[in-house]
Homo-oligomer: 489 residues x 2
């Protein structure tokens, strides 16, 4: 095969890069750190978007759109926010080019300097809260439950396709509430939405928890997160939901008159997932043959490959296939019939394996005679011959089974590499093996920093479901519950 | 009413601005020239997107995503393109901020200057064709039929909500073909898609034509366009589809091996519509009471307002409404039941009139007794009392009738202000009255410029359906067909 991948055991990181490129998901662009999302990759992202958008709307949210640019001064209005975000940004300083005096190309027109520089949004809390100030006067204007689908830019020095890129696509929810309790409930609700999406659609088990102060979003009082585990034993933060308290309302002076006619600052949340989920999806399930996609997010769920020696055979097969396709579509199953005559069946088999199509049907002359079809599962790489009559119902069930099996495999893997660790000596050995290490920790940033410096492991989250109490494995001080350590993407 | 609009006859431009703000469609942001699209406005844009996206996919296109930034040098690779586009752009020169030495806020870090400036895309031909170079080797790689939904930035000096903003949202299709004929057919096909969308969904009649050389897209050999007419008699370019020839392939050296094993440059098209369509939609149909939305693009098509004196009455009405809602939804009709107790029916009536909801149902105590409901049409502002039994079918037909009536009204208006003009004296009088003037023109840029300077009218398009031949009304030289003159947005 021309498109052979590096194996995971040989070089996991290279395997990932190979896969993203060879499965036509994305590639690096001419602009440093920015990717091109190719049609097949984008089709998966569209599926992700559609499901999340539906879930957001079902929980009462609406979409809107705020400017790409943020005035520089806005970033410094919230003290913690500017520390975390204002540094590695794309800065617009001019608004015009002019012909170069030497006649070659264009140069920046020095006359067209902006009075105040504009920052390409790294996240939109500041521009949105400056807008909300005009929208909120009374408790009757609350809650505001708004989401935006947008591109953002963070000038990352080391980039990797989907996982860390200078520009990425995401959604950012920004909600405004009359009470602390409501805002906190919203932040938790969106964490649940993300967890449900990750598990039910991406077939990716996630831990739900809160971030330690070190890992918290710049400007948040509490950051909730879902943490997934990749096949190489490294963790990946897949989504965050922030309880922002009244920080942004105070920074932008957003107050409201409550039911008792008292003036108070508005309470806020923000929450987001990004094209990083594509990286998580790829690394959760795929194998050395290529992508493995959960049926619920596959651009097409079934591919049909005809095997024929002459036009007559192809015509006979096509007739059967053209009867089957509408039956599948009626069940909501997406299907592609690849009758391209330029490629051989073997090439097609490898191609759709690489692209992670959940179910492949192959139909040849003998199948026609016997009234059968060959059904191949991408997740298990197994094949069987099935009667054509009623196969649409068989496939419907099979897709459910594949979705479930992919989840179970990821869940079992995670379980197998999640363990309690009760001493720092053991920790230093275990962290090399990867996986989630559940440890008692004294709750201090100092200890967390020390462990990170010495082992590159960070606290991925403090699980929402608390374990027993104990003593910190690093300092021996009291600990209220185990927390999750891992090396992370 | 608190939300009263300026009337169209008093000040059309002010009426438009009032309406956009008061109907909660969009507002200006803290960033010069950039708008905030508010949830109600964005919901209309989502409807527009969904329909267009479906139509693009039905014609074989797929979506992808290309970088926001374009290296400065790319813009000057296509000579005509740089003249048209490279000038009024947002220019990123730096990638980092740092704390200000005076401790107040942040400043641009002079150490973090980019070697080559990046331009925020004003359109993506250059970055996309630099990418296509790697995707295309053989005729087997063609055609590429790719669309992108994205934000773009053009540093406009005078901006108006939706009609002309520094940042706007759009889609841009970029296709690559093996032959000139195929590319030309694609450009024409997409013009038809736009025209069909404008007429069938926006209920907005459009003229189809080609642009004169003066008005052509920078880098195109031919620009096809749809031109709409607003209620004030001014034209609005609603969508363009460009036949780019081999210009961008030559600029980025994109060649392919054809079926005869010969190397040739690839043929290209690009085509786009933007949030400007929102402006066109608003100005095509709305009146002094507010928005008038075609049912096919209304965020909700039916609003139900209960009229009650006490909780008991509300409960009885709600029971009936809750039986009706699923019947409407089953027919694909979107409906909102506004049982908000804080607002009076009169306020609600005015509010939904302002927001252009096509059908309003009001139900009171007497309706309950009689088994009726009051049905109000937004387009005609008429009311009638209808039997509740089977009303869902009545409403389904009514929505179709409204869609048709809105189109017909716009069509009849356009017809009434479209006329042949056969002398320049007459032209100067008629152009003051607005509308489309069909005139013979000698085909020269000089004449077009002169007319523009003297009357502010431009050639909106050379219609695809040619009229009789004649002589230019400005110079007396021969003319092959009448062209469409108008003042334009």
């Amino acid at each position: 095969m021309a498109k052979e991948l590096t194996s995971r055991s040989e070089n996991y990181s290279q395997w990932y890069n190979d896969l993203v490129l060879k499965a036509d998901l994305a590639e690096n662009s001419a602009v440093r750190g920015c990717m091109v999302i190719k049609p097949y990759g984008y089709a998966i992202w569209e599926k992700i978007q559609a499901e999340l958008d539906r879930m957001f709307k079902e929980t009462g949210h609406v979409n809107a759109y705020f400017p790409l640019f943020i005035p520089k001064s806005f970033l410094s209005k919230e003290a913690a926010h500017v520390e975390g975000f204002a540094k590695e940004c794309a800065v617009v300083t001019h608004y015009r080019l002019k012909n170069s005096p030497d006649g070659k190309g264009v140069i920046v027109d020095p006359e067209a300097k902006l009075e105040e520089e504009l920052i390409v949004r790294p996240t939109s809390e500041t521009i949105i809260w400056s807008t909300y100030k005009n929208w909120i006067q009374s408790y009757r204007d609350l809650p505001l439950l708004i989401n935006q689908w947008a591109n953002v830019v963070r000038w990352e020095m080391r980039t990797r396709l989907f996982l860390r890129t200078a520009e990425f696509l995401w959604q950012e929810g920004h909600t405004a509430h009359a009470t602390e309790g409501e805002a906190m409930a919203e932040a938790k609700q969106m964490l649940e939405v993300y967890a449900t999406f990750a598990e039910n659609f991406m077939a990716m088990p996630v831990l739900k928890g809160v971030k330690s102060a070190n890992e918290r979003f710049a400007g948040a009082l509490e950051t909730f997160c879902i943490e997934a585990l990749m096949q190489d034993g490294k963790a990946l933060q897949a989504g965050t939901s922030h309880f922002l308290g009244q920080n942004f309302a105070k920074a932008f002076d957003v107050t409201f008159v409550d039911k008792n006619n008292k003036i108070d600052y508005v309470w806020a949340t923000s929450w987001g997932v990004s094209t990083r989920l594509m990286g998580a999806l790829i690394m959760s399930h795929s194998d050395d043959n290529g992508l493995v996609l959960p049926p619920k997010l596959a651009p097409f769920q079934v591919v049909i490959v005809p095997i024929y020696k002459n036009d007559e055979q192809l015509a006979a097969i096509s007739e059967k296939v053209n009867e089957l396709i509408p039956k599948l579509r009626k069940l909501g199953i997406s299907v592609k019939f690849d009758n391209n005559d330029n490629k051989k069946p073997g090439w097609k088999f490898a191609e759709y394996e690489l692209k992670g199509v959940p179910v492949r049907l192959a139909m040849g002359a003998r199948d026609l005679e016997n009234g059968t079809v060959e059904v191949a599962r991408r997740d298990t790489l197994t094949k069987e011959t099935v009667e054509l009559e009623g196969i649409e119902n068989y496939i419907e069930k099979l897709l459910d089974a594949i979705q479930e099996n992919i989840y179970k495999k990821a869940f079992d893997y995670r379980t197998s590499v999640t363990r309690n660790v009760d001493s720092y000596d053991e920790f230093k050995v275990e962290i090399e093996k990867g996986g989630f290490l559940l440890c008692h920790w004294d709750g201090t940033a100092e200890t967390e920093e020390r462990v990170k410096d010495e082992t590159k492991a960070t606290i991925r989250c403090i699980p929402l479901e608390a374990s027993e109490e104990g003593v910190c494995i690093f300092t021996g001080k009291p600990s209220k519950q185990r927390v999750v350590f891992a090396r992370a993407y």
